[in-house]
């Protein structure tokens, strides 16, 4: 599936305004996810217009309405399928056009991802490859296009939602974890490349967040509301952070898990 642009009445404001400060947009990829949704609100609250990209057009339209009513900011929707090669190639350019030109697209938040069923993925090469395609390959393709945009623009921010699962391979989620680890390394390299320009490249590593992905899973503790996570992501961008663990204590949890000697680690069911 390719990319389709849905225009909204709010887009008229941008061209009609005289002497208005330059409006800037943030592109959210996978905007229907709970974390993405609240990240969108956090950016709208800070005065950004939004371009909401995803597969569920009806849901995106509702999210866009919500942003307009709550924050009085512009919100556009963009049909985007992370696994479609044409979407991967054209989404960013479409977003630039919706934003009203390269100058106006200030940042991108890559929030699509799929946890999948690890017990199946451990034995099903088809599923394992699929999870890597969604969580890693698709992200790399889109971010590669985005990186050139920000490099030539000379400022802006790139955010990708990774996972604490990428910090150490564990029997309970290593396929998903491997893809997220790859994404983290890719982001690390991108950060290195774009640092001279002052472009923020932020990897978000959520622990347990109360979303569709975790709902009903056993063994969850201290689960964070997605609204708090969205707010922290926008704040981390303002503070030009590189890696954000949410909730913050997951940095310590993962440090301990990474440092566990293998002999002990292998005796756990982590």
């Amino acid at each position: 599936m390719g990319t389709t642009i849905h225009s909204s009445p709010a887009s008229a404001d941008r061209t009609g305004a005289v002497n208005a400060p330059a409006r800037e947009s943030v592109l959210i990829l996978g905007a229907s996810s709970s974390i993405a949704r609240w990240t969108a609100h956090a950016f709208a609250r800070r005065g950004y217009d939004l371009i909401l990209a995803g597969r569920d057009d009806d849901d995106l339209a509702r999210l866009a309405s919500d942003v307009r009513v709550r924050h009085n900011m512009g919100a556009e929707t963009l049909h985007f399928d992370a696994l479609s090669v044409s979407s991967q190639a054209t989404a960013f350019g479409d977003a630039v056009r919706l934003a009203g030109g390269a100058e106006h697209l200030a940042g991108v938040v890559l929030a699509f991802g799929l946890l999948g069923d690890q017990r199946r993925a451990a034995h099903d090469s088809e599923l394992a490859g699929y999870l890597v395609d969604v969580n890693f390959t698709a992200a790399v393709r889109v971010l590669t296009v985005a990186s050139d945009h920000f490099e030539s623009r000379g400022r802006g921010f790139i955010v990708a939602v990774g996972s604490v699962a990428g910090d150490r391979g564990r029997q309970s989620n290593y396929v998903y974890g491997a893809a997220k680890a790859g994404l983290a390394v890719f982001m690390q390299g991108l950060r290195h490349r774009l640092a001279p320009m002052g472009i923020t490249v932020l990897t978000v590593k959520p622990g347990f967040v109360d979303t569709q992905m975790t709902f009903g899973h056993p063994g969850l503790f201290l689960v964070a509301p997605p609204s708090a996570v969205g707010e922290q992501i926008a704040r981390a961008v303002e503070e030009q952070r590189s890696v954000l663990y949410v909730p913050a204590f997951w940095r310590i949890v993962m440090l301990i898990i990474r440092l566990l000697p293998q002999r002990i680690f292998h005796r756990t069911r982590l």
């Binding site: 709970s34 509702r62 999210l63 309405s65 009513v69 709550r70």
Partner: protein
């Protein structure tokens, strides 16, 4: 609709009984269905998803000068729940129930069809859903009218009534002059003081009435509650003599002559929201809430009989409310409010004698042509329900047509044997 399990929607779960749970079925959580879709500031008409809460409405629209047209005693309810229970507020005598301000809603029905329901379209389903306790389907979107308000403050006149007759007289004399009217009633006083009350009536305050400080504070968002009940209260707190003394103290804390105060909308509309887990004050065994309405005709006598029964049992607590309801809408079926007097009270769960008392109260309510509020009920018998809700047959015919297999059910529906 996929599958064949029983379903019931649940908002924030503030019904006191078993309305939003279903054994051997699935409870459908709706709190994430909370997006605003469109707002017209000229008309006050808002279109939004049904999981939006009263709290969210106030947080967003009060700074813009709008307030929900009807609010129940807590702001922690969803709009879907407010329609399903057809909640009412302190302004029922002039503004009617919640449903009066609902233009339309979308209902996801058992067949999987999503139907637009209003007074003009699918009117049967519209009225069966209002007060229908979630049994007609899942409300997804709502269009409702918000009311413009001059400030976030309410000017309230406090007036003591030395007994129930005094209170009813005051209600009748000038209730229509106030947008909001309610009375705290002492359900433990006896004899000549039976039903003594403190009436609290008022309106949203115009800016001229506010102090400089109130004008400044008014623009802030509502704070999160600071008080919280940490654990269950010990039983002695609920002992009748202590409660009696507490009620007398509260009554006498109000001066004999009426006085007016300007206070924030929060303590006026949502006094208990200030204290998190307030229900724990009732100890580990909890409490039962009882709310009934008696029609105007014979209502005074009925109220006196009910108050006598409660007072002599010594079962009531501090929290008891008396209010006069205004006219309803002709199409209402299971909607609770009807013109007359409504009495709501908390009863600490002291064991079987409370349930026996409630049975006797039910019989009185039926005798006087009244009814009990389903959103607060957890123990009514099926026969009692049928005697109180004569429109049930009409409702059932609509229910059986839209959901012949009873995909939407709840423990309340099973307990009241609604499908028989």
């Amino acid at each position: 609709m996929i599958g064949s399990e029983k379903l019931v929607a649940r908002g924030l779960g503030r019904s006191y009984g078993d309305a939003a749970v279903v054994r051997h079925g699935r409870t459908v959580l709706t709190e994430r269905l909370d997006r605003f879709l469109q707002f017209d500031a000229r008309t006050g008409v808002l279109e939004c998803e049904a999981g939006v809460t009263i709290n969210a409405l106030i947080d967003h629209f009060l700074p813009l000068g709008f307030f929900p047209s009807v609010v129940p005693g807590t702001k922690h309810v969803t709009l879907g729940g407010a329609i399903a229970a057809d909640v009412h507020g302190k302004n029922h005598h002039v503004a009617g129930a919640f449903s009066r301000h609902v233009r339309s809603f979308r209902l996801l029905t058992a067949s999987g069809a999503e139907l637009e329901c209003s007074r003009a379209n699918n009117a049967d389903l519209f009225w069966a859903t209002i007060g229908g306790m979630g049994l007609t389907g899942i409300i997804t979107d709502v269009r409702l009218t918000l009311s413009p308000v001059p400030s976030p403050y309410v000017s309230v006149r406090y007036e003591r009534a030395s007994n129930i007759d005094d209170a009813l007289e005051l209600f009748h004399a000038d209730d229509h002059r106030y947008a909001f009217s309610v009375a705290w009633i002492d359900c433990l006083s006896r004899g000549g003081s039976l039903g003594r009350a403190v009436l609290m009536r008022g309106d949203f305050a115009p800016n001229e009435l506010l102090t400089a400080r109130q004008r400044h504070d008014g623009s802030r968002r509502s704070p999160t509650p600071r008080l919280s009940v940490p654990g269950s209260a010990p039983q002695f707190v609920l002992a009748t003599p202590l409660m009696r003394a507490f009620n007398a103290g509260y009554y006498h804390s109000h001066p004999g002559a009426p006085r007016t105060k300007v206070l924030s909308y929060e303590p006026f509309f949502f006094p208990l929201d200030k204290i998190r887990n307030w229900n724990r004050l009732y100890g580990r065994r909890g409490f039962l809430q009882y709310q009934c309405v008696l029609p105007s005709v014979g209502g005074r006598e009925g109220l006196i009989r009910i108050l006598e029964m409660i007072s002599s049992s010594g079962s009531a607590s501090f929290l008891a409310v008396l209010k006069r309801f205004g006219e309803g809408e002709p199409g209402q079926l299971l909607s609770f409010p009807r013109v007359g007097y409504t009495l709501a009270l908390d009863l600490p769960n002291r064991g079987p004698e409370v349930f026996e008392l409630l049975e006797r109260l039910d019989a009185l309510v039926v005798r006087f042509g009244g009814r009990v509020y389903l959103a607060k009920d957890a123990r009514m018998r099926p026969e009692t329900f049928r005697a109180m809700y004569p429109e049930f047959r009409t409702w059932l015919a609509i229910k059986n047509e839209v959901d012949p297999d009873w995909r939407f059910s709840s423990d309340l529906a099973v307990r009241l044997r609604l499908m028989d």
